[in-house]
Symmetry: C3
Subunit: 391 residues, 3 copies
Amino acid sequence: SDGRVEITSGDGATSLRLRGLVQADYRWFDSANEPADTFLLRRARLVFEGKFNNIFSYVVQPEFAGTIQILDANVNVAVSPAFNVRIGKFKTPVGLEQLQSDPVAFFNERSVATNLTPNRDVGIQLQGDVLNKTLNYTVALLNGVPDGGNNVTGSADFDSDKTVAARLFATPFVNQKDSLFTGLGVGLAVSLGDYATASGRTGGYRTDGQQTFFSYDASVVANGQGVTWSPQGYYYRGPLGILAEYVASSIELQRGALPVREVENFGYNLSVGYVLTGEDSTYRGVTPKTVFNPSAGTWGAFEVVARVSGLDVDDSVFSGGAAGRFAAPNVSASKLTAYGLGLNWYLSRSVRAGFNLYQNKFDLAPDAVPAANALIADDETAFITRLQISF
Amino acid sequence: SDGRVEITSGDGATSLRLRGLVQADYRWFDSANEPADTFLLRRARLVFEGKFNNIFSYVVQPEFAGTIQILDANVNVAVSPAFNVRIGKFKTPVGLEQLQSDPVAFFNERSVATNLTPNRDVGIQLQGDVLNKTLNYTVALLNGVPDGGNNVTGSADFDSDKTVAARLFATPFVNQKDSLFTGLGVGLAVSLGDYATASGRTGGYRTDGQQTFFSYDASVVANGQGVTWSPQGYYYRGPLGILAEYVASSIELQRGALPVREVENFGYNLSVGYVLTGEDSTYRGVTPKTVFNPSAGTWGAFEVVARVSGLDVDDSVFSGGAAGRFAAPNVSASKLTAYGLGLNWYLSRSVRAGFNLYQNKFDLAPDAVPAANALIADDETAFITRLQISF
Amino acid sequence: SDGRVEITSGDGATSLRLRGLVQADYRWFDSANEPADTFLLRRARLVFEGKFNNIFSYVVQPEFAGTIQILDANVNVAVSPAFNVRIGKFKTPVGLEQLQSDPVAFFNERSVATNLTPNRDVGIQLQGDVLNKTLNYTVALLNGVPDGGNNVTGSADFDSDKTVAARLFATPFVNQKDSLFTGLGVGLAVSLGDYATASGRTGGYRTDGQQTFFSYDASVVANGQGVTWSPQGYYYRGPLGILAEYVASSIELQRGALPVREVENFGYNLSVGYVLTGEDSTYRGVTPKTVFNPSAGTWGAFEVVARVSGLDVDDSVFSGGAAGRFAAPNVSASKLTAYGLGLNWYLSRSVRAGFNLYQNKFDLAPDAVPAANALIADDETAFITRLQISF
């Protein structure tokens, strides 16, 4: 129902779900250093999900907005609930917000902390629920993508070194339905790999308004180990939801023939949501009690959300002079603090309008003078509205 | 039936339709200035259309032939039949032929007048049927695309100015089933916006054979207001169909630092179809009474079509000398008059073969000498055949 | 069942099948001249197949891994079982292994002989089964693609000359179910066309490990006739399967203004498979008697496969000195002999794991000294593993 189509065999052992996601935005920016106000088709996805024999399942999810690409294409073999093997392209199991399905996140855009967590990659993953479903474990071996990176085409690796990512996530009270802590989850994730070439470092970090505020000099390459780790957790109770995450990402970088230096960047995200109409907030989204239907006098559900997040770049990236530094202080900021406020209107289980106001403050490197028209010359204020259908 | 698949809930409030379109052409050209004869995959589309709760609907339509892109991706909220809100990527509501679904148009290729109407864009649109369904209104706010343009990726705007498009279309006798004018529709559409940069002017105008016969100099940019307006109408009665459209498109252009000059181009299209086997002609196509089935001795339906259309470029584009003119008179024509004759064979409701002969005559700027091998050196004669399936 | 979804009308005359293919690889290479070990998303396809009225059918198959493209988009009109007309984009009817559906081939990668057969193209094809289904004929008129080539976008031809491809394939004993030769098929295919420009010659020949071991100099263009012919056959009986193919491909090439010279390259492939668990081997794959289900103690089917194949480039391509030769002997080999051994594990009808070991030996041109790091400096050893789902 509600736009979701599932074709199922009589015994339920075989099914195909046809799903999709369309997100259409309007975005206002307040200053001349920022991009033009614009309509934007943010996401247009189709999802084919199937399972059969109660053991095998698959996902094929192409993205048609922006850069057309295959997001997910993988096979899962459920040897048992506690032991699944997944092979293909899927999300790297590190960031809590990164792993949450985009259309059910509190805000239209993920927090700036998610700049530091790897995104989709190709590889093999073992995962399962153990200890009476109170603990989920995931271990993956992957080609390796940098901070915020995505193996867009599912293509081959640049070197033979692989990346290991592992995540433990506990929901210790999930089976105690009346507990104050039924909706509590805490976890720790880490990824570790060797990286090389320009494709081994991040392509840049972006603000809430999706503008690049930090990027390495084009001549900087990864040359050594990269480690990301993230303690993370959430708490949901009734209409209240809280999601918190801390990410530290270190990488060994090199510019030209100069010595390799390790850089360590940090990010954090604290997000809160409260459903004004009383529905339950969950990590998988909000299901409104009523559907928007003016003739019936029903309006759906409303939720207010707030977020503070930040990203702190290693100060050493700006040292070494113009010929030796990793980043230019006149166009890249040293630190970002991002505030967000929003209202979500759930017109139905599948349709949501989101109204987000973002205020992003930049700290520059000592003595830095921003270039004319540089994004970092002024704080960023952005108002991003969205209508989305996730069927 | 007939290849169309719809999955519907018991109460009909929720449905998903899986549709598609494949068009495969063979194209002959008669002269050395024209392209090689060729097979061509013209369109290969899948369409996912759904609705639910009788209020919400969506379309996701990727195109896989030529430049792979998302054509339509939008959400429609039907507050009432008279008031719909559509958000995402969709066709700009201006051209009558542009708005008609491609597989049901009289000819394999739209007329040269459609060069002047904007195509798909991202934005928000209000539309509805009022006055007992005798009047349809549409108002849209969009990023803005130039003549014949298409916001291919649904991407951001180059400036903060937005484009307004509005269309009124009346079918005053639609409720009088026995009237001579039941199938009469007349309308007026207009779009108005500010444009800038090379992406604000047309990428070129094409003949019926889809060859570019006019394009601005690469250094010409839009710099000011663009206005398109179009009176339009159709008349269908029994096997007869007539579609007529006039388009005027003006745009302020600039070359280098020279003064801004306004250019106004005109187009027209008069198309007629007659179904020889007696089926009704409609704006939504022809449904044959029989299906092609040689063993049963049935052959489907046949329709003859004829068209005269033209495009007249503002003569001032050629003035100003080699360093100041907007277009080069040796490769761009000043005027195009296009004649088309065709036969459509409806093998079934979903399968159509179309045989089109096009004769396109160029008028050159005064004293212009066409370049060697320039398309405009000779009239264009093209024979475009197509087999299409629109399921 | 088994993940395959078909929506059918009551009378079976109309149906839509939603299918797909995901192939996820891990690939090891043994030497520094070869690429890095890597995970790879090899194929991610969706397939929409429909038929209606028992006469019309269509296929739309986009590929989302690697270069996103439309593979098949065509309409088939079954005038009678003996006379079908297909129009659009489809596989050129030449290579036996090329025509076999990829997920059911013995090996993860097709043999090196398939480098010499044309792949997908746009055009029109007549085909049918005659003589009580003991003979299949196919004749196609196409734009023309070079050896191993693919008309990626279904785009227009570079010249007006078209390519003819024809294939006869006999299964003389297919109606004698108890014959020793029920599963015997033999055929002959040929394609013939005029080619020009760099797009008329092959883009390069690849090893089993999918690395290019031969390519023409960038200044070499096709300029004249190209002919491919291939005797071919298979034999399936119980768990045993044998597939054999020989291909000769000649093309007239030219470098700069030097004289046109004809080049003829040869390839062969002999592949054998044996299903250890006793299921039947067929050209359309293996259906395991049991499904992988550890809790039920069933494991699916297992098959061993072996292959020897080769590709012999015309020695004359290396003659003419550095300024006149068609290929450089220090990076392109003169001959490739490829050995393959593999194990296929059919976890279900839709899920297969394949483990392939390839050993590829290069013969260089006389007196050739391979360039440093050239692939051809050492034999190639590759181990390519794959998990695939073909629903």
